[in-house]
Each structure stands twice: as structure tokens, then as C-alpha cells.
């Protein structure tokens, strides 16, 4: 049987890490890249804390795709804006009518982009290697209210459910002649008959779900019994503290001796 009281052990070492360790690693990677600035440290963070673990976890292609989709629009705008409108730009690369592209602007744009990639890469790696339920179980074990953990978990789980409902309603409306694939105007007109039932359905579902949850004792105050707990270790605890403490240290180093 695939799942008795505990889920099957994850395939890779990175997957098996405690969810909080992975969350702290994701946040620390992004924050460290922001604090350090420049190119060298953020690039090193991307290589060591995002790409290497992603490769070892076997999610590198998915991570690359997800990061590309998430950051591409922002990356393009960051590069274009800084290239053409960097206020302190001196080294002119090209002129295009009233616009002037500068090397300083390009360098700054790349630095911002690298920090952005470190941040989105760390978060994406966390999501690709962690079940939402595992994190909430771990947080609950550490004393977070079951209600807070439930809301966090349910929020993540609700998105695909709403998308699924929207798809079903779209199919139903199409069957009744609604044009959802024509021109821009036709698509815009088609949104209302789809969004309305999706929102109203979601509201009605909240009451039914509330009743079902109350009937299953969810309103009971106090802690609940956890079916299983994500494994943790002294080494992981030490690693988490080390990552957290490294952030102020990095800030101090940058402010005093400077960083590459």
C-alpha cells in the first residue's frame, strides 16, 4: 500500500530535508542575495543553493521552466528600464532617438536580475520539493495554531480546485453557445458568465465546507494529534540557525569591509 500512516520516503536527500529547513534555505538565499548585492555572491548563491540542490533533487528542468515563466516579464522590464533610463549612467553603449543605453545601466539591471533569480529560484525549489501538507504539519508540531496551518494549506490547495471549477463552467457555458475562443471582445464578453458562477459557487462551498469541518471536530480548541511528523535532526537545526545568523553577518560585512 502506498501510504500507511506515513507517506513513502521521498526519493532524494533534498526532498527528505525537513520542510522548515528548506523554507529557511529558500528565504535565506533570496535575502542574502539582496543584502550582498553585486554579481559574485548572488551568482554563487544561485549555483550553490538553487541549481546544485535542484539537480540533486532531479527537478532542475522544472525549476528552470518555472523560474523562466515567473521572472521573464519582470526580467525584461528590469533590463530595459535600467539600460535606457539609469540616472547615473555614463558609459554610452548606443543611442536610439531620445533613448540612451548605458553600460552602467546594463550592469545594474543584470545585478537586479541576478538577485531576482536567486529569490525566485530559492522559492521555486522549495515548492517543487515540498508538499504543502508537510510544512503545515511541521509548523503545527512546532506550536503554530492548527487553524493558521489549515488556512495556509487550504489556500494553496484551493487554487487548483477553483481552476478546475472554472474549466468545468467554461465547458458548460460553451455547450450553451458561449463564445470563449473568438476575438478579444468575444473573450471579454465570455468572462462574466464564467467568473460569476465560479465566485458564487466558491462562496456557497465555503458554508458547506465549514459545516463539514465543524462536524469533524475542527472547532475544538487545543492541539490535535498529528498522524506523522516530518523528520528533523540536530544537524538541520544547526544549519537553520547558521543560515539565519549569516544574514546579519553578511549585512555587517557589506557595511564595513565591502563585498565583491
Amino acid at each position: 500500500m502506498p501510504s500507511p500512516e506515513t507517506p513513502a520516503p521521498a526519493a532524494t536527500l533534498w526532498h527528505r530535508l525537513n520542510p522548515l529547513t528548506k523554507l529557511v534555505a529558500a528565504i535565506a538565499t533570496g535575502v542574502a542575495a539582496l543584502i550582498a548585492g553585486g554579481l559574485l555572491i548572488p551568482l554563487a548563491l544561485i549555483a550553490g543553493a538553487v541549481l546544485l540542490p535542484a539537480a540533486s533533487a532531479g527537478v532542475l528542468p522544472r525549476l528552470m521552466r518555472a523560474v523562466l515563466v515567473l521572472t521573464l516579464p519582470l526580467a525584461v522590464s528590469v533590463l530595459v528600464v535600467n539600460l535606457l533610463f539609469f540616472p547615473a549612467g555614463q558609459d554610452v553603449l548606443f543611442r536610439l532617438g531620445p533613448l540612451t543605453g548605458t553600460a552602467d545601466g546594463l550592469r545594474y539591471g543584470v545585478e537586479v536580475l541576478v538577485r531576482l533569480l536567486a529569490l525566485s529560484g530559492g522559492v521555486t525549489l522549495f515548492y517543487l520539493t515540498t508538499r504543502p501538507g508537510d510544512l503545515t504539519l511541521d509548523l503545527e508540531r512546532r506550536g503554530v495554531s492548527p487553524r493558521v496551518a489549515f488556512v495556509a494549506n487550504a489556500s494553496i490547495g484551493t487554487v487548483p480546485a477553483i481552476l478546475e471549477r472554472a474549466e468545468a463552467i467554461t465547458q458548460a457555458q460553451r455547450a450553451r453557445g458561449l463564445d470563449t475562443e473568438g476575438g478579444l471582445l468575444a473573450r471579454a464578453r465570455g468572462i462574466v458568465p464564467i467568473v460569476g458562477p465560479v465566485i458564487l459557487g466558491a462562496i456557497a462551498e465555503v458554508e458547506r465546507r465549514t459545516l463539514a469541518l465543524e462536524a469533524r471536530g475542527f472547532g475544538r480548541p487545543g492541539r490535535r494529534t498529528l498522524l506523522w511528523e516530518p523528520p528533523d535532526s540536530g544537524a538541520q537545526r544547526a544549519a537553520r540557525w547558521a543560515m539565519v545568523l549569516a544574514l546579519p553577518l553578511l549585512a555587517v560585512l557589506r557595511a564595513t569591509v565591502g563585498l565583491p
Binding site: S3, E207, A212, A215, G217
Partner: protein, 292 residues
């Protein structure tokens, strides 16, 4: 261990019409009571009141007394009733917690909220999975099951809380004949173990097979009440929006045609019993590879 309703009347919040009027009923240990009636007769509202969800969660005004073992529990917080009265709704999709990744975790959700010990949590979960014959689904994502499979999971999830009284609001509405028979067998086993069951159903064949007593609701009132063998053959049933069991309807037609004979009636009774019995053993009724 009895559940008693004395003079229960209920009005939904903001409604001008009373949804339940002067309902009196009792559920003794191991007893199965069927509740039938047309749509809007008050069946679902009765379920909410008996489970302590109305008026506490949904609002409204309740009059009368709801007693469990002599203690008036009307107005008690639902979580304090959760381990004593379980309720299963007709829509399985909205009964899922939404946070469980596997059926196993889904079934364990209720007892884990009641903070039972971990060993007991596992024991209850596996007992409920086995009782409903859905052990093979344990590792599946509950959101990806068919409606019928989800309903079996929903029932198992409530049973895992080990309520002494079970209220079921059309629990087989989305089940095929095999699933319906499976639920029927599970309810029979529960009743035999002392759990009392209030079964709201449109499928009067199932009610006839399981219930010893039947209430017919009409406009929020009890219109008919008595032994199932009497109420389900009452000629007033169709007028109350209730289709009598197939056996009764067929017998009535045969009588009208002058074809009634003892041997034929015996054959009809046997066929009727077989139609609500599981065609296979419980464990084989649900496979892990069911519809997604």
C-alpha cells in the same frame, strides 16, 4: 445511549417559514430509523439540528430539546458533539478537508482533531477504511476520486470518529448499486455494534432493508411514523412525494392486474432483497485503480 428529540422546531435565519415543527423522535442503541420525504420537507435541516450544526453554526432559532443520554445538548459547540453524533452529507466533494494529500490522511483528519492518541488514531483510521472496503484507496489523492469513492471516504471519515449516533443525509445519492450495497452493509454492521443510525434517503428500497422504523416528513412536520413494514406500504406515500420501494410498487401493479400469487410475491421479495445486497465482498468493491 439514546438520542432523543423532544418538540424540536427550527426556523432558518431570516426565514419567515418554520423549517421543522414539533419533531419528536428517539434513536435507541443499534436502531436504524429511516427518514423520507419530498424535497424541502425538512430532512436535511433535521440532520443539521441533530448533529448540533443548527443553529450553532448556521444560525436560526431552535426550540425544544435534544437529549443524548438525558443530557440536553441543543446549542452545544459542534466539536463537543463531534465524537458523539456524526453527520454525513450528500455532497462528498465539500466534505473533504481540502488539506489531506491521501485518503488515509483524510480519514484520520476527524479523530486527529479530537486529539485521540496516535496509536488509536491509526487504529480508528484503518478500521474505518476496512469497514467501507476502501483500504485500496488509502494512498490516493481524495480530490482525484470519483464522486462515489469520495462519498465512501466521507463516510469512513465520520466513522473514524466513532460516534455513537450517526446521521446520514442521503449518503448514497452519488453511489452506484455496488457502492450503495456496500454502505448498506457497513451501516448494518455498525447498527449491530450498537451505533444508532438516522438515515435520510430517497432510495426507499435501502430504507426498507435497513430501517426498523420510518418517519415521513412533510412541510417540516412528521406526517407518518411507524414500523418500516407499515409506513413503506402506506398508500399515502406517493401523495407525500415519496416513491414506495420497488417491491411495493410492483406488488401493487400485480394486484391491480389480478396477477398476485404467493409464489410470485415471494420471488419479488427475494429479488428486492438481492437488489440492495452487495454483489461482491466489501474489499473487492472498490479498487485502487478506480476513476480519477
Amino acid at each position: 445511549m439514546t438520542l432523543v428529540a423532544e418538540g424540536l422546531s427550527y426556523r432558518h435565519a431570516g426565514a419567515s417559514r418554520v423549517a421543522l415543527r414539533d419533531i419528536n423522535l428517539s434513536l435507541a442503541d443499534g436502531e436504524v430509523v429511516g427518514v423520507v420525504g419530498a424535497n424541502e420537507a425538512g430532512k436535511s435541516t433535521l440532520c443539521l439540528v441533530l448533529a448540533g450544526l443548527a443553529p450553532r453554526v448556521v444560525g436560526g432559532q431552535l426550540a425544544g430539546r435534544l437529549l443524548i443520554d438525558g443530557e440536553d445538548v441543543a446549542g452545544l459547540a459542534p466539536h463537543r458533539l463531534a465524537g458523539r453524533v456524526g453527520i454525513v452529507f450528500d455532497d462528498p466533494g465539500t466534505q473533504l478537508s481540502g488539506v489531506a494529500v491521501t485518503v488515509y490522511e483524510e480519514v484520520a483528519f476527524g479523530p486527529s482533531n479530537l486529539a485521540v492518541g496516535r496509536a488509536e488514531l491509526i487504529e480508528r483510521t484503518e478500521w474505518a477504511l476496512d469497514l467501507l472496503g476502501i483500504r485500496a484507496l488509502a494512498g490516493r489523492d481524495p480530490a482525484r476520486l470519483s464522486g462515489g469513492q469520495q462519498q465512501l471516504v466521507a463516510i469512513a471519515s465520520i466513522l473514524a470518529m466513532r460516534p455513537r449516533h450517526l446521521v446520514l443525509d442521503e449518503p448514497t445519492a452519488q453511489l452506484d448499486p455496488a457502492g450503495t450495497a456496500l454502505v448498506g452493509e457497513a451501516l448494518q454492521r455498525l447498527a449491530a455494534s450498537g451505533v444508532s443510525v438516522l438515515l435520510v434517503e430517497h432510495k426507499t428500497d435501502l430504507v426498507e432493508r435497513l430501517a426498523s422504523r420510518v418517519l415521513v416528513l412533510d412541510g417540516g412536520r412528521v406526517a407518518l411514523e411507524g414500523p418500516a413494514s407499515d409506513v413503506l406500504v402506506d398508500p399515502r406515500l406517493p401523495g407525500l412525494g415519496v416513491a414506495p420501494p420497488a417491491r411495493v410498487r410492483l406488488r401493487s401493479r400485480l394486484a391491480e392486474a389480478g396477477l398476485e400469487s404467493p409464489a410470485l410475491l415471494e420471488a419479488i421479495a427475494a429479488a428486492s432483497a438481492a437488489s440492495v445486497s452487495a454483489p461482491q465482498g466489501p474489499a473487492s468493491a472498490v479498487s485502487a485503480g478506480g476513476p480519477a
